[in-house]
């Protein structure tokens, strides 16, 4: 039984890592908490579900279409709405994305209703040493991990990735070196939305998705980000798997109705005891 809980925890934790990595990137580079992140996840999931169930695309292609659409959406939102106030105090940017999220979420509820939708894929399941694993869920996990890995490689080795990292370290110095900061901000925001969409597509295989869940996804992103340390891809991976395992065992020990409390209590404890995260090295602010 323990092995099954561990497997479930790692599986869902990989999806959480993908969920949080985009949030963490935007947070780290733009110094903005993107309250819309949860709604991006839901919107990405809906696009994937629509292209799979209604138009008959293969799930992987549908997920990539969802990613591309959300990248464009994120890019435009940052370029034309958020960039105006990107350097304003925390309260302003936070409240602005909160307002945008209310708008987006309300629009989604009107357009799609609050009915939960799933991506139903049946590829059978594997039995490994008494642990039961659904193939579709494994596929979702692989997709999430591959995308997270690709993002990590791009940030480290591509010119664009180095520019993003440079802006994160010091945007004034980056601007002096000729890096177009507003464009990097918009691309970063687009990548964040893209990762959210991928997480959404993968989540839809595991959970029924509804616009009502966007707050939950946002909360999880933040907890993971704090657990793993701000703005780091390996940190998000560690934080995501830690939260996945914690929830898997926490649900057994306390009951799943306490999952928010457990996650947030852990987050506040980490903030106070290890403000740089379990693996991170950056201080707060």
């Amino acid at each position: 039984m323990v092995a099954q809980y561990v497997a479930n925890g790692i599986l869902i934790g990989s999806l959480y890592a993908c969920l949080a990595v985009g949030f963490s990137l935007i947070y780290g580079v733009l110094n903005i908490i993107n309250v819309m992140h949860g709604s991006f996840v839901v919107l990405g999931a809906y696009i994937t579900i629509y292209f799979t169930s209604s138009l008959g695309f293969p799930p992987l292609v549908a997920a990539l279409i969802g990613c591309a659409a959300m990248f464009a959406f994120g890019y435009l939102v940052q370029r034309f709405l958020i960039n105006e106030v990107v350097a304003a105090p925390v309260f302003i940017t936070f409240t602005l994305t909160f307002g945008l999220d209310l708008l987006l979420n309300n629009a989604m509820i009107q357009a799609f209703t609050a009915t939960p939708r799933s991506l139903l894929l049946d590829y059978g399941s594997l039995d490994v040493a008494g642990v039961n694993l659904s193939v579709a869920r494994l596929g979702a996990m692989v997709l999430a991990l591959v995308l997270t890995g690709v993002l990590y490689a791009l940030l480290r080795h591509s010119a664009m990735g180095r520019a993003i990292v440079a802006v994160r370290m010091d945007r004034h110095a980056a601007a002096l070196l000729g890096i177009p900061v507003p464009r990097i901000y918009a691309i970063t925001f687009g990548i964040g939305a893209l990762m959210a969409a991928a997480a959404g597509g993968a989540m839809a295989v595991v959970y029924p998705i509804t616009p009502m869940l966007s707050g939950t996804f946002l909360g999880k992103s933040f907890v993971i980000c704090v657990l793993g340390g701000l703005g780091s891809v390996p940190g998000a991976l560690i934080g995501g798997i830690a939260l996945g395992l914690l929830e898997s065992f926490g649900a057994v020990a306390l009951g799943s109705q306490w999952s928010t409390t457990v996650g947030f209590a852990l987050m506040v404890a980490v903030l106070l005891l290890r403000p740089a995260g379990l693996a991170g090295r950056r201080g707060f602010e």
């Binding site: 209310l102 309300n106 928010t260 947030f264 987050m267 506040v268 903030l271 106070l272 707060f284 602010e285």
Partner: protein, 324 residues
């Protein structure tokens, strides 16, 4: 003794006129206006309370719903123990202080985004506790509160006056803070916390003090609200939208001023009653649009941006607005 009366007499008269107008309105208004007036008073109370932490001290707090819900539940539970109304409200105030003190000493170690998210986490956790602790809170089903005896009209006027009395208390507290060393210290913290600490301000004590004062007022508003509506439930008492609406109202007026919260709440409630009620399905979308409009059009508040030279200094301390 001829000529103009002394400044204090004029000040007292200037204060009495709006008070008399508010009281008189309560007795002549119809039921709809009485209801709207009470809602406005509650918004004013919450805005003034938030303004101490969010405006003067500059900490982006979203804990309003947590303290409001706490006050509502403490008041309701005390009333259900057959305690008189006044005792229930007192219990809520004490509960608010007893909760805000320890909570503030934990959360106020955080800054910026982390503080903001920490306060939101508190709201979410408290709602979950209220949902799951059936024995104490009645769980997700909600909690009935004994109804105040009297004709509906008389009860309506009673709560209207109670809420406005609380608003007056909050206003007086704000004026006192704005003109005290305490308030000066809070403004120093807003401008540069490290520097404030360096020149010998006991930053931590001031921050927790402000959080407690704000928390007590917010909890009191919650308790009065619970007695008034006679039924509370977790998703209503610990509603995260309360936590976002209140700062937006203050920002609309002008954060960190005495009259800003008052003006912001009036404009917001007016807007809500005139436009909003007609679009029930788009409630949160319209709130979203208002937030975006406020941030782009009046980020420093209407009091600061509309003819700032005309406002007296007491109402509008000349401070640099962060991020301007």
């Amino acid at each position: 003794m001829t000529g103009a009366p002394p400044a204090t007499v004029r000040g007292a008269l200037a204060a009495l006129v709006p008070i008399a107008a508010v009281v008189a309105f309560g007795f002549v208004a119809n039921n709809y206006l009485l209801q709207a007036g009470t809602t406005l008073a509650m918004s004013v109370v919450l805005c003034l309370a938030w303004n101490i932490v969010g405006g003067y001290m500059g900490y982006p707090s979203f804990a309003t719903a947590a303290l409001f819900g706490l006050g509502a539940y403490v008041g309701a539970i005390t009333q259900n123990l057959d305690a008189p109304l006044a005792l229930a409200w007192l219990a809520a105030a004490v509960g608010g202080a007893g909760f805000a003190g320890p909570l503030g000493s934990i959360l106020l170690r955080l800054r910026g985004h982390y503080f903001a998210i920490g306060t939101i986490a508190v709201v979410e956790v408290m709602r979950e506790i209220a949902n799951n602790w059936d024995g104490l809170t009645g769980g997700a089903v909600g909690l009935n509160v004994p109804i105040v005896a009297g004709s509906p009209r008389a009860v309506g006027i009673f709560f209207y006056l109670a809420m406005w009395t609380l608003a007056l208390i909050a206003l007086v507290v704000t004026v006192v803070i704005a003109n005290s060393r305490f308030g000066f210290g809070l403004r120093c913290i807003r401008q540069n916390e490290n520097a404030a600490s360096m020149v010998g301000i006991d930053v931590f004590r001031l921050k927790v003090g402000a959080f407690v004062v704000s928390g007590v007022i917010t909890a009191l508003a919650g308790a009065v609200y619970a007695s008034m509506v006679a039924f509370i439930e977790p998703k209503d008492a610990f509603n995260i939208l309360t936590s976002i609406e209140v700062p937006v109202m203050v920002m609309l007026g002008a954060a960190g001023t005495v009259l800003g919260p008052l003006v912001g709440a009036c404009l917001y409630v007016l807007l809500k009653e005139l436009v909003w009620v007609n679009f029930i399905n788009f409630h949160s979308a319209i709130l979203g649009i208002i937030i975006i409009a406020v941030i782009y059009a009046v980020p420093k508040g209407v009091l600061r941006q509309l003819h700032p030279a005309r406002w007296p200094r007491l109402l509008l301390p000349r401070l640099r607005v962060r991020g301007s």
